[in-house]
Amino acid sequence: MRRVAVIALNTFREAVRDRVLYNLIVFALLLIGTAILFGEISIGIQSLILINLGLTAITFFGLAIAIFIGIGLVYKEMDKRTLYALLSKPVRRYEFILGKFGGLALTLLVNTAFMTAGFFLALYYVKRSFDAGDPPLLAAIYFIFLQLLLATALALLFSCFSSPALSAAYTLGLFIVGSFAADLKDLADALQAPWLEGMMRAIYYAVPNFSNFNVITTVAHGHPVPAALFWWNTAYAVAYIALVLLAGILIFQNRNLK
């Protein structure tokens, strides 16, 4: 466990050294700009647009980090041959994968925490107060973080056997398909042929259901997130991430590194 933590901490340090957290400046400017701009050109949606854009930006900035760092986690170490030095020490391959995942998760946690602080500051600037509709926003951000962890696990999985470009394409593709998951289920319900319906339903359950975690539109209107959804989504994310990491570990374990 200590070895996993050391790798995680080094991965986090590396990400910080790569100036990943610079995106926070862009994020802050985007929120301030949006709050001012939409106050001028629209009617009555200043805080609504800030919530929608803020939460969407947290998702996509985080997703960009998860994918573009995630895809290089294993590949870069192999390319620079630092992996060999690392594995020659008493570090197991699964520890390396878990450590890499932990490090990027920590990077995303710090990044999301800063963006959340900036987001609430911007919201306070627009509304001049906080109200009862604001706590559900934290639940939405928690769900976004779960999405980012899931995307990280997928990027890491693809990074174990593919090139960075292909890994990015696969992860992004799965994110898009996973965001359409509800439509896949609707399609399955609409299909007449049982085998087609079964196939569509299988795809629906197989793809990572990113749409589970998107409650932005609902919380933007101040609706609370049901406690059951909170727990089910957490359990789903943990289970799916565990499966993906397990697959990654298996692939990496059996990979010939010579």
Partner: protein, 295 residues
């Protein structure tokens, strides 16, 4: 390595000259293509459902963008005296993307229902939008207020307006004024008092500065009309007494009918035509707004 002091001035000079050239050229292009730049009166995606799918679930943000497009389209057509062709489709997409975006139904209905050139002059679409709002937000009784408002102002159908207010009044939590309005409209129809009550309620029920300003303008317009009617009565009385219209307010004041030159709520003096008609000074802000309830 070449020292910075050798290359930096040259780079800065090129950047300044190049930047100025780009700005200059862009201005020429803008001027040359101004006639070709018309607002695209087409929507590439007309189905809200499709737009919803394409947003990957980030439909709340897309709704805000479409709502802003609707506001911008309304503003542009309002200035240009255009046709508001895209207004309803944009509002429809907005409300499909975010069915709970109440202001898109309410303000959208106002934009649609107002007569041209103030609005789109499409009260049928305003009703359609509000009915969609009711379908998707069945507990929101204020849509009945808006439906009643459209029937009252645009159609002058006081029976349907009263019925809408009555239906809304039956909702749990509905404001007591809904039943009062229903009774008032049924009894008095299109009186100014009814119009005033409607605009006052709209003013009280919103925090949005744009809608409040609009309601305020209408309320102010009614105050102008009250005063003009009152002053016209005094001038008519003067004509009855003297047999000729007054040449100035001084004459009316000399007859003891007014204390001096009457000022309108904006602080400008009311005008008096040669035939004794009382008018508002064109400089008064109220002249810039059409008062639909006078129609």
């Amino acid at each position: 390595m070449i020292p910075a002091r050798q290359w930096l001035p040259l780079v800065l000079l090129v950047a300044v000259i190049g930047g100025a050239a780009v700005v200059h050229l862009q201005r020429h292009i803008d001027a040359a293509s101004a006639d070709y730049r018309i607002e695209a009166q087409e929507l590439y995606l007309t189905s809200g459902e499709w737009v919803k799918r394409l947003t990957l679930g980030y439909d709340g943000l897309a709704a805000c963008i479409y709502w802003t497009r609707a506001v911008q389209h309304f503003g542009r057509q309002h200035i240009a005296g255009g046709e508001y062709k895209l207004l309803y489709p944009l509002l429809d997409i907005t409300t499909t993307l975010d069915p709970e975006l109440i202001l898109a139904y309410r303000f959208g209905a106002v934009f649609l229902a107002e007569d041209q050139p103030t609005g789109a002059g499409q009260p049928d679409l305003a009703i359609k939008l509000l009915e969609k709002g009711l379908r998707l937000n069945p507990d929101y009784w204020r849509f009945w207020y808006d439906i009643g408002f459209v029937y009252y102002r645009a159609y002058k159908d006081y029976d349907k307006a009263a019925a809408a207010f009555r239906t809304g009044a039956d909702y749990p939590g509905a404001g007591a004024f809904m039943r009062i309005m229903a009774t008032k409209i049924a009894a008095e129809g299109g009186s100014r008092a009814t119009a005033r009550a409607l605009w006052q309620e709209l003013y009280n029920s919103t925090d949005d500065p744009t809608i409040r300003a609009s309601a305020e303008t209408h309320l102010l317009g009614m105050r102008f009309d009250d005063e003009i009617e009152y002053l016209q009565g005094l001038v008519d009385q003067f004509i009855k007494q003297t047999g000729k219209p007054p040449s100035s307010w001084r004459e009316v004041a000399a007859a003891g009918l007014v204390p001096g030159r009457p000022l309108d709520p904006m602080g400008r003096p009311y005008r008096l035509k040669h035939d004794g008609t009382v008018l508002v000074d064109p400089q008064s802000r109220i002249f810039t707004s059409k008062l639909a309830w006078r129609d």
